[in-house]
């Protein structure tokens, strides 16, 4: 843990794999830049790997003032222990006030390990980040300019704001797609700071024997239209209707966790706080109740159609078109209406 350090930078862990920066790291640069400007401090990115120095320029173009670059053959592929060692040493050395991570397989493996070693706080899957004050309820001590870590709390329509007043750095993970990707400014200036880290035997004790990566098969973020099915679809057979409607519109299929848990479709299709965040031109929610965790992933869609037979379902609160009815009847009508148009 480090003491609160008001001059500390705002950092992003710049996750890369096979010499590509993850989308979420790029998105986080924009947010970190904004937070750093609010706090009047610099923004830093930590880039770890082998032969990835080039990626620094991308991070600088997206807002980084300093890129802390750690270059070592042993860091070519992500492994928990040496990466955690690098992050902890750099945090201790530079005392950033905020460190943000993508809530990816890598970020969710790494960030808690660092939080534990630093005895610092960590909030998972934030849907918004802001700067604000916090007053301790008992002592009335006011802490200005803290990182407000906003995350839906389960149980209906509730959003919790989490803070960490004294055991810094303030750390959070954010899912891909939640923050907007800023335009890169190739003219921006920044510094690449070379850092060298020593490892001990324990750090290097886990050996990577084999590694396989697949191309992304489901790309919900790129879809212009998404037809999402929820638990209200009621069985795997009826889920075919969702595929048919998506086919008719030329859109992608998405799902709520209710549908994923029921086994109608696999987890990659889940939209929401712990799935993908999407902003398509049109989002059609069928048999989705509209829990806050689901809405967190779709409410910024340009147009939303909700089909639900419960007129009080919260999904109608974010919809532009609401159809109160049985999806098994309404979806075929929609397919028909679309087909008749051409």
């Amino acid at each position: 843990m480090i003491e609160p350090n008001r001059q500390g930078e705002v950092w992003v862990f710049a996750e890369q794999e096979d010499e590509h920066l993850s989308d979420v790291s790029l998105e986080l640069c924009g947010k970190a830049r904004e937070l750093a400007d609010r706090l009047n401090v610099s923004m830093g990115a930590v880039l770890i790997g082998w032969n990835v120095r080039e990626l620094s320029y991308r991070l600088i173009a997206l807002g980084a003032d300093n890129v802390y670059h750690v270059h070592d053959t042993r860091l070519e592929h992500y492994r928990t222990l040496p990466y955690a060692r690098v992050m902890c040493q750099l945090i201790q050395k530079h005392e950033p006030q905020i460190v943000l991570y993508g809530a990816t397989a890598q970020g969710r493996d790494l960030a808690p390990r660092i939080a534990s070693a630093m005895r610092a706080g960590l909030t998972a899957d934030c849907t918004d980040l802001d700067i604000g004050a916090y007053t301790e309820p008992k002592t009335k001590t006011v802490h200005e300019n803290l990182l407000l870590q906003v995350r839906p709390a389960f149980g209906g329509n509730i959003i919790a704001t989490i803070i960490n007043c004294d055991r810094w750095p303030q750390m959070a993970t954010v899912r891909e797609g939640v923050m907007r990707l800023n335009d890169a400014d190739p003219g921006r200036r920044g510094q690449i700071v070379e850092e060298a880290i020593e490892f001990d035997d324990f750090d290097l004790s886990v050996k990577l024997i084999e590694r396989h990566r697949e191309k992304r098969t489901v790309d919900l973020k790129a879809a212009r239209t998404i037809v999402a099915g929820g638990a209200g679809v009621a069985n795997a057979q009826d889920f075919q209707l969702i595929h048919e409607l998506a086919g008719a519109i030329g859109g992608a299929v998405g799902a709520s966790r209710g549908a994923v848990d029921a086994g109608y479709i696999s987890k990659e299709y889940q939209v929401g706080q712990t799935g993908t965040t999407v902003r398509p031109a049109l989002y059609i929610a069928c048999g989705v109740s509209g829990a806050v965790q689901h809405r967190a992933g779709m409410e910024e869609s340009a147009k939303i159609i909700a089909i639900n037979w419960d007129k009080d379902a919260p999904i109608f609160g974010v919809a532009h078109y609401g159809i109160v009815g049985d999806l098994r009847k309404v979806i075929p009508m929609m397919i028909k209406a679309i087909r008749q148009k051409d």
């Binding site: 808690p112 706080g121 960590l122 998972a124 509730i158 324990f202 990577l208 024997i209 396989h212």
Partner: protein
């Protein structure tokens, strides 16, 4: 070689059935208002541990931290084949965030004894943070294998494991002891065995016996009640059915790392969000209504 396995399990509110009064004003969960279930990923962690023991010998000890009612998941562990179970329960642990929780669980793991492999579920459905496993590993000074799917090889103090990172997989070699967080694709949890249920359904922690005796013997004197408690606890112990129970002192926890004091994160505020009704259009569930809507969407170039 036999392996001593420890499994960390959690009783969670069933988030699939959340109702209105499930949240308290301070943003914490009103656990009482929700049915409690065995955290789904933890069943896979338990199964992974049982499979190691069945193949190589050794033991499986399940630990949970929670209120007294959490013994329900420990009995479930016994029904499925755990050898030993322990409850960590202490009011001073209340309001622990993931960091304080991982500290307490790490102390509990140290207390229950020697181990080769600690199994956790990937994450718990009440928060989905997936933080406690990696944080415990760090506290215990162990390497961590998150998203564990399979032991490809386990011999002596060396394991070859496969982990699934969503967009691919990895095979890693690691020396024991190690902590793994288990995916639901790792295995199919075995059902409870009827024979074990018959045997273990009477398993209780000492504090549960206290409660039962106090409720059943309201009229009795303190010493009569105490005698009954001692008798029942003794009988359970003799049959190997006494659920071990620890408080923070028993696990030598430093209170400054537990509960609120040990939790860097605080809930600043909770908001009920007001949904924007602006620009909302009710569409009749008829051919006509649907056709009109599709038409509008084509006109404004949302479709086509």
């Amino acid at each position: 070689m036999p392996y001593q396995c420890i499994v960390c399990v959690k009783q969670v509110p069933d988030t699939a059935n959340v109702t209105g009064d499930a949240m308290k004003a301070d943003g914490t969960v009103n656990r009482g208002a929700l049915p409690a279930v065995f955290n789904p990923d933890d069943l896979h962690a338990l199964e992974a541990a049982l499979a190691v023991r069945d193949e190589h010998g050794g033991s499986v000890t399940a630990i949970t931290m929670g209120p007294l009612g959490a013994t329900e998941v420990l009995r479930e562990c016994l029904y499925r084949g755990a050898d030993r179970v322990a409850l960590v329960s202490d009011r001073r642990a209340a309001a622990s965030d993931t960091l304080a929780t991982s500290y307490i669980l790490a102390q509990a793991v140290r207390t229950v004894g020697n181990f080769d492999i600690v199994f956790c579920g990937r994450q718990a459905i009440d928060g989905d943070t997936a933080q406690v496993g990696p944080q415990m590993a760090e506290k215990l000074g162990l390497p961590q294998i998150t998203y564990f799917e399979q032991f490809i090889d386990l011999s002596d103090h060396q394991a070859r494991v496969r982990r699934n990172v969503g967009n691919g997989w990895e095979v890693l070699d690691v020396r024991l002891p190690v902590l793994v967080t288990t995916l639901d694709t790792a295995n199919r949890p075995r059902p409870a065995s009827a024979r074990r249920v018959m045997r273990a359904k009477r398993a209780r922690a000492a504090a549960e016996i206290d409660r039962e005796v106090d409720a059943a013997m309201k009229q009795a004197t303190d010493s009569e009640r105490q005698a009954e408690k001692d008798a029942r606890v003794g009988a359970l112990r003799d049959h190997g059915l006494l659920i071990e129970q620890y408080d923070l002192d028993d696990i030598h926890a430093d209170l400054k790392w537990c509960g609120i004091a040990g939790s860097p994160t605080r809930v600043h505020r909770v908001q009920s969000i007001v949904l924007t009704k602006e620009g909302f259009k009710a569409v009749e569930p008829t051919e006509e209504g649907v056709r009109e809507m599709i038409h509008e969407l084509i006109v404004d170039h949302t479709l086509g």
